[in-house]
């Protein structure tokens, strides 16, 4: 790991100021991806701005579920309010990484990083969440712009994620056998505006599976997905799974997500 400067600002404003002052700065909100990446020499930011001192964690459930950016996966997984309002979201958080990761990693960090195999982006897109930042509110559709890239501007920091409460929703993950990241993760939700299906791990970034959504239009049941498929073209193909296998797994995992939905 290369040397870097370390800041631990106490307010969002200070954090943004610090980030804007250093062109090669990185926010850290848990560091569960950033630190391993730095250790491997894949990232060597000049400055680390640790958002841990913002104490920006907590969950508020009303008409929507609002989770502050600094909330750990373990807090989301164990929240009675989340379990009641969107059980699939709590279950998803409980399946991220391992206990160490779940107690250090945060929802804001995960969403900002937009790892193409991360779990949370599929919940954001699958539920039609809104990403709150220090400057604005961004719809999930507009937020995730590609592999590790988002609509966040330089220095812009996520403050909270707001999830509409669906009629029911489920998440099913097929983990990469080695890394245990999602090789295919499908979040399926029956929402006020109709069925939504978001897929992570299978492509260059999280995406909605329109073929599966329209199939579920016949009824939000696994049986509706029989014969429905996402085309293999454009999906990831690597050592662990061909694009064809991923396409197959998307339908299988979508069925399991719908079966598990509550």
């Amino acid at each position: 790991m290369e040397n870097f400067n370390y800041y631990r600002p106490a307010s969002v404003d200070d954090a943004v100021k610090a980030a804007k002052a250093k062109p090669d700065a990185k926010y850290m909100s848990g560091g569960m991806t950033l630190i391993p990446t730095m250790k491997q020499g894949l990232a060597s930011p000049s400055d680390i701005i640790d958002l841990g001192a913002l104490k920006n964690s907590g969950i508020a459930v009303g008409a929507t579920v609002v989770i502050k950016a600094g909330t750990t996966h373990a807090e989301v997984a164990s929240s009675a309010d989340v379990k009641k309002a969107i059980p699939a979201l709590a279950a998803l958080a409980g399946g991220i990484g391992d206990p160490h990761v779940r107690h250090k990693g945060t929802i804001g960090g995960s969403v900002a990083n937009n790892d193409p195999a991360a779990d949370y982006p599929s919940a954001c897109l699958g539920l039609g969440a809104t990403i709150h930042t220090n400057a604005r509110k961004i719809k999930a559709e507009d937020f995730f712009t590609g592999m590790f890239s988002t609509a966040l501007e330089d220095g812009e920091v996520i403050t909270a994620i707001e999830f509409p409460i669906p009629k029911k929703a489920g998440y099913a993950k097929f983990p990469n056998p080695a890394s245990r990241y999602a090789m295919v993760g499908v979040f399926a939700a029956d929402t006020a505006e109709g069925p939504r299906v978001a897929v992570t791990g299978a492509g260059a970034g999280v995406f909605r599976a329109s073929a599966l959504e329209s199939a579920l239009g016949k009824g939000f049941a696994a049986g509706s997905l029989t014969g429905a498929a996402v085309p293999a073209k454009g999906l990831n193909s690597d050592l662990h799974a061909s694009a064809e296998y991923r396409a197959h797994l998307i339908t299988v995992m979508a069925k399991r997500a719908v079966d598990a939905a509550k």
Partner: protein, 788 residues
């Protein structure tokens, strides 16, 4: 003795408290005054000439103490790495061993090959400066797959123009061909034994230091056999004579074979210390370096044919194997696919005619050498996969086909050198069938099918030869060393005991098991026994730990030394108690004189031995210390039957090992808890090979694609079931303790059991390992299309 800590007791491991509380003393825990840090410049290419190495920029980097290249090493006349087992080809020619300099000279031959070393004040400085070393490479064609290596245009060593190290054979080809001519049925199979990366928990590490005053070297290193390391570094590298070189292998966190070998990095550290003013030079492998540069295991491509007669008896077996050696011949690499492999091709069966031919081939990959089981897992895989396949083709029950062909008379001389001394294979099979509830399998399979899943059952009736090994026998087969073991028993004046052993514990629990033997024999508290190992200044000589040898060979040496202790203690006790040594008896820690009430406790005799007031020192020497060397008269032959039951998810191809039964015959067992732990670990490693692990080099680029845990799948606790174990016992006749060996059995047996179950589930002849979900899904697709 019946104190709960003797032979057969489930004594908790004495060493675990320090390991589990973080108080172990591993090489990387050791820091010496004025220590420097080494970082290696490694080849990014699979095969290239080195045109020029530019070090001037790096030398000016902060903290740099020294930079050395292959030319610097050559200038000091330090010899290259060796392969210690000479194999001759069928035509009588010696194996073609290319040079293996400790830092590359003129050429690199795999990604990760050691090119230069940078030594600096800190590890970070060394790493930064290493990145500034400029190497001008001329990229050459490469070959990474053993199947393609023979005669490939990528010529890796000048001495082997076709990349072939040797073409070796064993058995009677003509007799085997004749058996095939009269066969009723011939079963054929093509198998790949996938390349594995060892992944010891502790990466390799070394600290080399040169005492400029005493002109003496010390090397702390992660070794399974520090004495062999000293011997090789002294006699073959020529660094220093043995009395001027001390090798210390402190706590070592796992090896699985990978820490047997003498590697470049460790030799470089101890060599380079002299050239940085005697400052200690430390190196600890990063995990990526472990992936790239630890010796890998397995990597065989095999075609096998088995001939059976009308009665279902096996009458002939023919095997041809291509075995990858990697880019260089590692320390014991040459014996793995020959004498550790083909000599086990008879399995548990009475096969009158066997012929095997092995082509060992260079590839542009990390060297391949012994890895848990070393040759025997590969042999078991071939034997047990083809036996299962033959049974299926003959429409015979696979268990009964095995039983029909089992060796039942002992000793049994196989056609491939080994002479099995004892066993009862039918008894282990019967017990395994019962524990695994094979009778209930059909119902379980139907229940799986009802859910759309595939369930399969697979057997593996393995045998292995361990307790390595009779010195004269291995010498006649080309080994450069003898494989005896030594022990020294030092009884202190207060009756506590230190056992010095030439074996080495790196997870096996010797500190407990060996102490149990001593506690049992001398009738003393197990806490009064210390096991000393891993330091050439303390233990005079030894051959280390591998090949499940430390019980059968190492403990037998201890037992022989204890015999001498007992004999001498009796003479001292007799003198003190004024009687004849012949009348002194020793039992439960007490010396008594027959027909009298005279007695002395062991501790009293020990004290008398050192006080030496009460006996004639001209007749009995003072002191109580004895040593012994034990050279085994035969290998030992653990054997057993393992049964795997798998369920394959019909939607995803995920294979779950739902039941796993292992019944093993290890002869007499010292500590059943430790033995069960060894079996659990071995089976898990084998399940890893079958379903998860596989090193993949990219054909096009020669890069290791599985260079981290992101892509190399290790088995996890959640991936394996709770194992059902059983034991049978035929004591080993060739050692006084009747012990066989248990360290490798699980890893030897389980890949075949699991893959027989997977192929049974899918109704196919073969699925390549590792049978990952993607692979299995592909085989399911094939079946589904065929069914349509």
């Amino acid at each position: 003795m019946d104190n709960g800590t003797g032979i057969g007791a489930r004594v908790k491991r004495k060493e675990d408290h320090r390991f589990l509380t973080g108080k172990g003393n591993y090489t990387d825990d050791i820091n010496l005054p004025k220590q420097t840090y080494a970082y290696f410049v490694r080849s990014p290419h699979a095969h290239a000439t080195i045109n020029k190495i530019g070090t001037s920029k790096a030398r000016n980097m902060p903290g740099v103490v020294g930079i050395f290249t292959g030319e610097d090493v050559a200038a000091t006349k330090l010899g290259g790495l060796i392969c210690g087992w000479m194999i001759h080809s069928k035509d009588g020619s010696p194996m073609k061993a290319g040079p293996h300099p400790i830092l590359a000279l003129g050429k690199v031959r795999y990604v990760g090959d050691h090119v230069a070393v940078v030594i600096a004040e800190t590890r970070e400085q060394a790493k930064a400066a290493a990145a500034a070393v400029e190497v001008d490479y001329g990229v050459l064609p490469h070959v990474v797959d053993v199947a393609d290596a023979m005669g490939h245009k990528a010529q890796i060593h000048d001495v082997a123009p076709d990349n072939r190290v040797y073409n070796w054979s064993i058995g009677d080809e003509a007799a085997t061909d004749a058996a095939f001519k009269r066969a009723k049925h011939i079963t054929k199979i093509d198998l790949v034994n996938n390349r594995l990366i060892p992944n010891a928990m502790e990466p390799r590490a070394a600290i080399g230091c040169y005492d400029t005053g005493a002109e003496h070297y010390t090397l702390y290193t992660t070794s399974q056999n520090p004495h062999v390391a000293r011997l090789v570094i002294s006699a073959f590298h020529g660094l220093a004579p043995e009395h001027k070189l001390r090798v210390i292998a402190p706590d070592v966190g796992g090896g699985f074979g990978s820490k047997i070998f003498i590697y470049a990095e460790e030799v470089v550290c101890v060599w380079a210390s002299r050239f940085v003013g005697g400052r200690p030079v430390k190196w600890t492998a990063e995990r990526t370096e472990s992936f790239l540069a630890d010796a890998h295991g397995r990597d065989h491509v095999t075609h096998a044919e088995m001939a059976t007669d009308a009665d279902g008896k096996i009458i002939g077996f023919k095997v041809h194997t291509k075995a990858a050696m990697g880019a260089y011949l590692s320390t014991f690499s040459s014996c793995v696919p020959t004498y550790l492999y083909a000599t086990l091709l008879s399995g548990q069966y009475n096969i009158p005619n066997i012929y095997a031919e092995v082509d060992a081939l260079y590839t542009n990959t990390a060297p391949v050498d012994a890895y848990r089981g070393a040759g025997r897992p590969e042999a078991t895989y071939v034997v047990e996969r083809i036996v299962e396949t033959a049974a299926r083709e003959l429409k015979m029950d696979p268990a009964e086909f095995r039983r029909k062909n089992f060796v039942t008379q002992f000793p049994h001389q196989t056609p491939v050198i080994m002479c099995y001394d004892a066993g009862d294979y039918a008894a282990t099979l019967d017990k395994a069938l019962e524990i695994a509830d094979v009778k209930g399998f059909a119902a379980r399979k139907a229940a799986s099918a009802a859910k759309g899943n595939y369930r399969g059952l697979g057997y593996s009736a393995y045998i292995e030869a361990c307790g390595i090994a009779p010195s004269a026998a291995v010498g006649s087969l080309g080994a450069g060393v003898g494989l005896w073991e030594s022990a020294e028993v030092r009884v202190n004046p207060v009756g506590t005991v230190e056992i010095l052993t030439g074996s080495h514990s790196h997870g096996q629990g010797h500190e407990t098991t060996f102490a149990q033997l001593v506690s049992d024999r001398l009738g003393i508290d197990i806490n009064n026994v210390s096991i000393v190992h891993g330091d050439t200044d303390k233990v005079q000589f030894g051959m280390g730990t591998y090949g499940s040898r430390s019980g059968a060979v190492g403990m037998t040496a201890i037992s022989k030394a204890l015999d001498k202790i007992e004999a001498k203690a009796k003479r001292i006790a007799a003198a003190v108690m004024e009687s004849s040594p012949d009348d002194v008896e020793f039992k439960n820690g007490t010396f008594t004189v027959k027909g009298t009430d005279k007695k002395m406790a062991f501790g009293e005799v020990a004290l008398s031995a050192y006080v030496a007031h009460k006996f004639n020192s001209a007749q009995v020497e003072p002191g109580l210390k004895e040593s012994a060397f034990h050279d085994p008269s035969n290998f030992v032959f653990p054997a057993g039957v393992h049964i795997a039951e798998v369920e394959i998810d019909g939607d995803t191809g995920v294979t779950t090992v739902v039941n796993y039964t292992a019944v093993d015959d290890f002869g007499n067992v010292i500590n059943p808890m430790i033995v069960e732990g060894q079996v659990h670990g071995g089976i898990t490693q084998g399940i890893g090979q079958a379903l998860a692990e596989g090193a993949v080099y990219d054909k096009e680029s020669g890069q290791l694609l599985t260079g981290s845990y992101m892509d190399y799948q290790m088995p996890r606790a959640a991936d394996v079931p709770s194992y059902k174990l059983g034991f049978t016992c035929t004591p080993c006749p060739s050692n006084p303790l009747g012990m066989k060996g248990c360290g490798e059995a699980g890893a030897i047996a389980s890949p075949a059991a699991v893959m027989n179950a997977v192929t049974d589930a899918l109704g196919v002849v073969d699925v390549p390992m590792p049978a990952t979900p993607h692979v299995v899904w592909k085989y399911m697709q094939h079946l589904k299309k065929a069914a349509e």
